[in-house]
Amino acid sequence: MKIIIVDDELRALQLFLIDLIGLDLEYKFFKDDETAVMKYVIAEKPEAAFLDINMPGINGINLASELIAAKPSIKIVFTTGLNLSEKDLPPEVALNTLGFLYKPYDNNKLLYFLSEIADKARKMTVKTFGSFDCFIDDRIVRFSSSKSKELFALLIAYNGKTLTMNDAISQIWPDVDLDKSKVLYRDAVWRLRKTFSELHFECIDFKRACLVLNKTNIVCDYWNYISELSQDYNGEFLKNYDWSIPYLSFLDKLNASRKN
């Protein structure tokens, strides 16, 4: 996958470079030299272009329409410090625009754009044996609160089944009175939604009083183990959470039967 990056400030570019290291792509930087950019695009036909908007020599939006003329399928991401949105773009440019990457860059958004350009869905890896953690593009997912993390762990344990509010409350807040626990449940749900929408990784269907996990694009060691895709169970499952004990005994039984 080939991409080009046009930005007049080298400092902004350096950070960009750090993020691109280790990814399977070929990239080329340009300062605001329009003829060089066009020459490269016509010769090499890159998949996407990351364009700054305010540059001394050229305007990124004008450059975008020229790039689109040269290669109609090119995808554009604008990297800008300005407050712009799709509606500020001419329609022919908006059609090819994936979005805006505001400075300073948000790594998650950058990785999201790259996955969009490659047309390859991002994968989340979930680790349940031992303590619970999730990773997207090898980066740990920072949950907004410990309870929202626990709620997500419960969703993983439910393995695609519908998790109702009452189920969640009885397992995560067993000792709290109902009114208060509903408030805490809503708080956890809101934080969960916020976390995944910021990561641009939509994997939960938020319904009224229940949650459903969409399992595509999620790789989970627990799921792999029970469907016999892997054998790496180590005798520990979501060890921070009290409600995991029945799951643990189930896994132990499974483990014992497989050994026999």
Binding site: N83, Y102, K103, P104, D106, R142, S144, V183, L184, R186, D187, V189, W190, R191, K194
Partner: protein, 465 residues
Amino acid sequence: MKISKQKTKLIAIFIADLIALSAGAISTIVVSATNAYSSIYFSGFLIYFSIIALFLFTVIVFVDCYAMFAIKTSTYHSFLLALCIETCCLLSPDYLSLFNLPSAYGLATNIIQYGIFMVFVSVIIIFFNFSYTLGMSKKRKLFYFFVCLVSLLLFVALYTVKWHFVSFVLILSLLVEVLRYTSRNPNIKCFNSFSFRPAQFLIFTLSGLILVNILYSSGTIDNYPFGITSFYLFTMTLTYCFIYFSFVRRTQERDFDNLKYRTQYERLKSSSLQAQIKPHFVFNVLSSIKNLYHTDPESGDYAISLFSKHLRASVEATSSDIIPFEKELNNIHIYIDLENIRRDNELNVIFNIEYSDFQIPALSLQPFIENAIKYSKIDKNEDGYLKISSLYNNGDVLLEIFDNGVGFNPDSIPQSSYGIRNSVERFRLLTGVTPEIISSVGNGTLIRIKFNKASLEKENENNNS
């Protein structure tokens, strides 16, 4: 300074009233004593003058009639007043004889006099029932009405013995009493009404004319000073013109006030930038970030990205007014995260969000959160928390921001209450919805905002266009 100016103005008006009241009577007595009047009357000048004065006042009546339909705000009494004045004047011996109706005049003087006085009393009653008396007690109004009625009955009863001026004196004392009462009670609408004083002058002018009539019909003077009605009519025409003039001026002032309010509103909206990007907050955050980079560079990166999102949201708030509620919540969350970076004890904030499918003006809620964090001292208490709730019921959205902190007495004005009031005022200006403050010392503070989803969206649209 201002009060003494007001007082001088009142005294000046009162003197003008007195002159209008007595001028007719004095000139009548003087003319009657020198016996020089009747010969002047039929000179051409007075006839033309009378006709012109009557014509001008008729124009006023029509203008008022038109205004009553064109401008809907309570101009109907002004029209009634003009109509009654016109009737009084037409019934005066002056105009009756001008239009050559001496026979009718001669036959039923008493009936005509009753009519004039009745119309006069109606004028007084209309005057009392103007919107001017808004704020006056019903009992007092009833009393005035009663006095009017008594004086009318007295007039008829005493007419035969020529003592009917007593009822005129009664009406006059009633008028003076009303003026005394209204100029001392700022709660009554007329106290600040632009047209009340001119209308009062009109009433006194008309009283002056009635006085002349009574002097004549009671036999105090022998010769009716023909032409006096036209002078009075002319004066009243001028007074009406003055009322129109001040009405136009007041409308312009109101336009100006509206403009002033509008610019103030715009300024308030744009000042949300300054309000949000508070310099001390910016520098505090920057120094915390600097510290973070020395201990934990990754958290430093995280803090920088939070901080830039916060700044972006603040800048965006000045350009795009209406944002999804979810976005406002995200901005609030970012703000709280930034607060947490520089705190030893993290703030415990609960997002009790059941419903978020609506839009609100950008940064309209955040000031409440800032206030709560600043003054509630929830971070000093281990169980302290801040709860943001959004509930939906049958078209109504209920937003609540509750902290279980120190609270305050809403009746006093401590610093915290002042901050909340500012936020309330800002929210009211942005949305037209007034948040409710429920707080008491020791029991935390609850800000409750209840609005109809559809009507808020309409308001948002109006503000945008």
